[in-house]
């Protein structure tokens, strides 16, 4: 930083407006290169390299508890050969898709209602829909289990209402429990992006629609929805990605039945202790995520251009 004091201006360089970059380029030699090296080097070394090494490690193997760094496809072969992994893979994709759909549907309704408000109320409602983001994740999982459990509030409420005679075990330790919990935990992530995509609609379009005699319903379906849907779907897709990678919620509320792909990966780094195979499974997850993010990118470009 200290070498930055030698800018051309101080040495009687050209007066008048100076293009910022040119200053930088003139004193390029050593310090400039060093700084550039740090700027591009740190993110590369700390973030990109680990991710690349993780990709590479999925082609390694474990033999008799020892890591073998020779290239092999056996981890992938094992995944593709075992139908049960496929089952969990698609089951988890479906689960995450449901969580995303729930986020889109409920998030849209909430965001739309908030968007229609004005002034203080609007800000307050928006605040209330993002506060759950700041609630600790583990706490939310814990709270969900409290409610869904055998002695939980849901069972007690259903018994009180006369719908059940005795507590049911159908709300906990299965896929339904995982689905319900994830819907609650990840919904707040959908509300804000949907609200922002509603915010991007120019208000004069709504006025024009009303001037031309459209009813509120017509304006909503023909103007508001088409303009905000791409951005909203992008929000829902991000929720889907979050649900795909979650491995603790299923463990806590899912029991032995609520097995997800995230848990399969996690177990390879825990009890099973086969990191390369775990990495290969994670690469398969990454492939699904890459497709989702690609769709999100195309959609968000569409949303901006329209």
């Amino acid at each position: 930083m200290s070498a930055e004091t030698s800018s051309p201006q101080m040495m009687g360089g050209p007066a008048g407006p100076v293009v910022l970059g040119s200053v930088e380029r003139k004193r390029k030699p050593l310090v400039g290169r060093f700084v550039a090296g740090l700027v591009y080097g740190i993110p590369t070394v700390v973030i990109l390299c680990p991710m690349l090494l993780f990709l590479v490690s999925s082609f390694w193997s474990i033999h008799d508890g020892n890591l073998n760094r020779h290239f092999t496809l056996e981890n992938y072969a094992r995944f593709f050969a075992d139908v049960s992994y496929w089952g969990v893979y698609f089951e988890t994709l479906r689960l995450a898709a449901y969580v995303g759909l729930f986020g889109l549907f409920s998030g849209y309704i909430l965001a739309y209602l908030i968007w229609r408000q004005q002034g203080q109320l609007r800000y307050l409602l928006l605040l209330f829909s993002v506060i759950p983001l700041a609630m600790n994740y583990i706490v939310k999982v814990f709270a969900m289990r409290n409610i869904l459990g055998y002695n939980g509030l849901l069972n007690d409420a259903l018994i009180f209402a006369g719908i059940l005679d005795k507590p049911s075990k159908m709300f906990v330790f299965n896929q339904t429990a995982v689905l319900i919990s994830m819907c609650v935990i990840y919904l707040p992530f959908a509300i804000l992006p949907i609200f922002l995509s509603l915010e991007r609609i120019p208000l004069n379009l709504l006025a024009a629609s009303a001037d031309l005699g459209a009813t509120a319903g017509q304006t909503f379906w023909r103007v508001v929805v088409p303009l905000s849907l791409p951005g909203s779907v992008v929000g829902a897709l991000f929720v889907m990605v979050l649900a795909l990678g979650d491995y603790l919620t299923p463990q806590m509320v899912g029991g032995s039945q609520g097995f997800t792909f995230g848990r399969a990966i996690w177990s390879q780094f825990g009890m099973a202790f086969n990191w390369p195979f775990g990495a290969a499974l994670a690469v398969m997850l990454l492939l699904a995520i890459a497709v989702i993010l690609l769709v999100a990118r195309v959609l968000s470009k569409m949303g901006r251009s329209s």
């Binding site: 309704i109 600790n136 009813t215 780094f269």
Partner: protein, 267 residues
Amino acid sequence: MISRERITIGVLWIFAAMVFAMLYGPAALVMVFSFFDHRGSLIDPSTFSVKHYAGLFSDDAILSALSNTVEVAVVSVVVATILAVALAYYMRLDKRRGRGYVEFVIFLPFVLPAIITGISLLTVFGQLGVDRSLFTVAIGHIVIVVGIIYRMVMVRLEALENSQIEASSDLGASHFQTFRLVVAPQLISAMVTGALLAFTISFDETLVTFFLVGDEPTLPLRLWAMMRVGFPPEINALVTVVLIGTMLLAATGASLMRRSIAGKGAA
């Protein structure tokens, strides 16, 4: 027609109220439980007390987990803020060709699920022979939050007039002087907001931390361990304290952000 619209909106509000109840209900329930002895969802009103809270402050495992968490959060937020501000200012000075690349890389941990970031860092530490500890956790948290602080700072930097920086350098200020005297004062609110947000994220971070933690747990991991062995009565109290603490932090961040946005509008 108008009445039909009213009905539709009314139904939507009822739905929204249900969703809000769903978002806040679980946490509210835990808070209520923390003051009572309870069996299932039945509370005995006569058992109201704060003894579960008192229990927390005599539990060494919880206290040390709390101090671990704060330690990691402070270190990672300070390092990440410095890094993020330096990166953002460097990219802002000139239309850098590498900006797209750097932004792509630092946003990766934000876009990809935590499990991928966790595995990647774990693999590197494993290969380098670095034992898992609070140090590796802090690295993980830096990686996660640097992109968020960068984004916050960059939004503010981009709103800054080029002419201010040019005028400063015309008047003979060095890059560093320009940064210190012209840019930094206008950046403070964005930096503080970003740092607070990052602190909240680091405080709550669980899914990456799980891969990187050694034998000194952070608070969320301690909570997890407590839940695995059963449901000790203190857990509701602990959860309440954590909830209120993180939400206060986030609320401070939100109000600061609102003020900085309002300030920008007025300027």
